[in-house]
């Protein structure tokens, strides 16, 4: 177990480091002169060169990388070119907002997806199964901006059930904030529902077909007991890991959703940073997204291994 954890964490750290290299290189191989970005199109080349020197962006890449990395580990990503503010002061609130939105989406979708998958598996091959799988699949593959727009049209404009922006007026309470977040969370829910349901269904079917389930039935246990005691536990374990990997897609979706709903989260921050070619901000945002993803998968793996006796108690004999 300890071995497993150490190995897993070591992997995460290596991956993180590689990610930082990728992100850094990405931002530096890409065209764009930092000084020029700050001073704008109309500044003189001399001023641009001056600023570049001040910022240290004329140094060799490895030196720049080390500078950046040593800052990054302290959550200091330098200054945004556009906002001329420390990047971290922009990231913090944005990340918090995004996490709120993601949390709302997760809280809705995880139980829904799992239950949907379980129901589908229990009705394998029947119309209910087909309905859940096909509608889940359709929801999963339709881009968020499409479903988002349709939802805005329907729920926000035609029947005015939800506000069409995501940000609650300043000073509103938690419930109001939640109310504002439901509509933006729905497209994400649509995307994730099919995916989670699918995994849960597959896990259920594996478990339902497993010999040990047969053993349980042949013991004379009722279907209920078999499913609650023997099937669900083994079926849903893999779902945990999969749900965590979905944070990746979730953040991808946030870029679009936050843009549509004008929600000041990490996705919108990234999108505006991209439009403005604000590379320090892009770097930091991408890095933060990567970290969130890696932490989520790491946590999922740890949970998984804690719940799975095979890993928790080490190998056979």
């Amino acid at each position: 177990m300890a071995r497993f954890l150490i190995r897993r964490i070591a992997f995460a750290v290596i991956t993180l480091w590689l990610l930082s290299v990728l992100v850094f290189l990405g931002a530096h191989v890409l065209p764009g002169d930092v000084g020029r970005r700050i001073l704008g199109a109309f500044a003189s080349p001399r001023a641009v060169a001056n600023l570049d020197r001040q910022l240290g962006v004329d140094k060799p890449l490895p030196v720049q990388y080390l500078n950046w990395l040593s800052g990054a580990v302290r959550f200091n990503f330098g200054s945004s070119l556009a906002y001329r503010q420390p990047v971290s002061s922009l990231l913090g609130p944005a990340l918090l907002n995004s996490l709120k939105l993601a949390a709302v989406a997760f809280v809705i979708v995880v139980p829904l997806g799992v239950v949907g998958g379980v129901i589908a598996a229990l009705n394998r091959g029947r119309p209910l199964d087909r309905i859940i799988t096909v509608s889940g699949l359709s929801g999963t593959v339709v881009p968020e901006f499409v479903s988002g727009i349709v939802l805005i049209l329907l729920l926000g404009i035609v029947i005015r059930l939800f506000p069409v922006t995501a940000t609650a007026p300043p000073g509103s309470g938690a419930l109001t904030q939640l109310y504002y977040l439901i509509l933006p969370a729905l497209p994400l829910v649509l995307v994730l529902f099919g995916y989670i349901a699918r995994i849960a269904r597959a896990g259920m079917i594996d478990a339902l077909d497993a010999d040990y389930t047969r053993t349980a039935y042949l013991k004379g246990l009722s279907r209920r007991t078999v499913i609650w005691r023997h099937v669900l536990r083994n079926a849903l374990l893999p779902t945990i890991a999969v749900i965590a990997t979905q944070t990746g897609y979730l953040i991808g979706g946030l870029v679009v959703i936050e843009t549509i709903f004008n929600y000041h989260g990490i996705g919108q921050l990234l999108f505006t940073a991209a439009q403005q070619k604000d590379f320090p901000l892009i770097q930091a945002t991408v890095m933060v997204i990567g970290v969130v993803y890696l932490v989520a998968t790491l946590l999922a793996d740890i949970t998984y291994s804690l719940l799975n006796p095979r890993i928790r108690l080490g190998g056979a004999r």
């Binding site: 764009g32 593959v141 901006f145 805005i152 404009i157 991808g252 070619k277 990567g290």
Partner: protein, 293 residues
């Protein structure tokens, strides 16, 4: 030397197994999932091929004064913000996506397959380091990577293809690697090593055909995602560029008008995208199910 009494064994099952393939095909043709998916995809393929021959109007012909007209007998799906016929644009829009998305997916699949074959087969350090790199790559969502890359390289159809291809490669590499891992310890690989085949031969002649199944399934799944991603990038303004009648781009261009009640130039391309992705995925789903049997 042959002894008369020892009968020669004939492959009596050849026909049986061949017909198993035929049965799979029939099964596919009888699967409603597949049929619905295939009909949708075929419909769009016909649109893509027919292109302007099928459209009632030139999809690029503007008419500023006739803009944002609702659906009517002249313009069945209405007109967009520049007065172009929406039906024509939806039909003509099929071509772009049906060229770009498959090209990007083919690129990604080719690169990913090569990568997956190599890492899976060699294992060890090569595998570990490449997989960590892939992990790092995958820690960032595809749309984000695509967005950032397109910002840097400037949007154009070619860059979209390259970027999506490159982004998909590691994902496909993973699938291929997993398939290779379960194949590479099979004894036919050892048999090949025993006759001292070169590594490329082992990779591409021995291994590759045996992992085609997962690759095929992955390809179709990725194709769906490619359409998804390209549409999303276009919607963000970083994908296919005007005046192409691209669906994602159309939504981007007309999105501002929906609150005014001008839903048609947004809804119809949205339906087009949704139906195509759903169609591709239904087909993919059906294929993988039949392959599983």
């Amino acid at each position: 030397m042959s002894t008369a009494s020892v009968p020669v064994a004939r492959p009596r099952r050849v026909d049986a197994r061949r017909s198993a393939l035929a049965e799979r095909l029939t099964l596919l043709l009888h699967s409603p999932t597949f049929l619905i998916g295939a009909v949708i995809v075929l419909f769009w393929i016909v649109c893509a091929i027919g292109n302007t021959h099928l459209t009632p109007y030139d999809p690029l012909a503007t008419n500023p004064l006739g803009k944002l007209r609702g659906p009517s007998p002249q313009h069945l799906l209405g007109t967009d913000s520049l007065g172009r016929d929406e039906l024509s644009r939806v039909i003509a829009g099929a071509r772009g996506i049906l060229v770009v998305a498959p090209l990007a997916t083919v690129l990604g699949t080719a690169v990913g397959t090569a990568l997956g074959l190599v890492t899976g087969y060699f294992g060890g350090l090569v595998d570990e380091s490449l997989m960590r790199l892939v992990d790092a790559f995958l820690a960032v969502p595809v749309v984000v990577v695509g967005l950032v890359a397109l910002v840097a390289l400037g949007p154009s159809t070619i860059t979209v293809i390259l970027v999506i291809g490159v982004v998909f490669a590691p994902i496909i590499a993973r699938t291929v690697r997993a398939a290779v891992l379960s194949e590479r310890d099979k004894e036919y690989i050892q048999a090949a090593r025993l006759r001292r085949e070169r590594t490329p031969y082992i990779l591409f002649v021995e291994l590759l055909p045996n992992v085609m199944g997962p690759i095929l399934v992955e390809f179709t799944v990725r194709l769906g995602y490619a359409i998804f991603t390209i549409a999303t990038l276009s919607f963000l303004g970083f994908g296919i560029q005007p005046p192409a009648p691209d669906w994602g781009l159309s939504i981007y261009e007309n999105y501002v008008y929906i609150t005014g009640g001008y839903w048609w130039p947004v809804l119809f391309p949205a339906i087009a995208i949704a139906s195509l992705v759903v169609g591709v995925n239904l087909v993919s789903d059906a294929i993988s199910q039949v392959l599983d049997r």
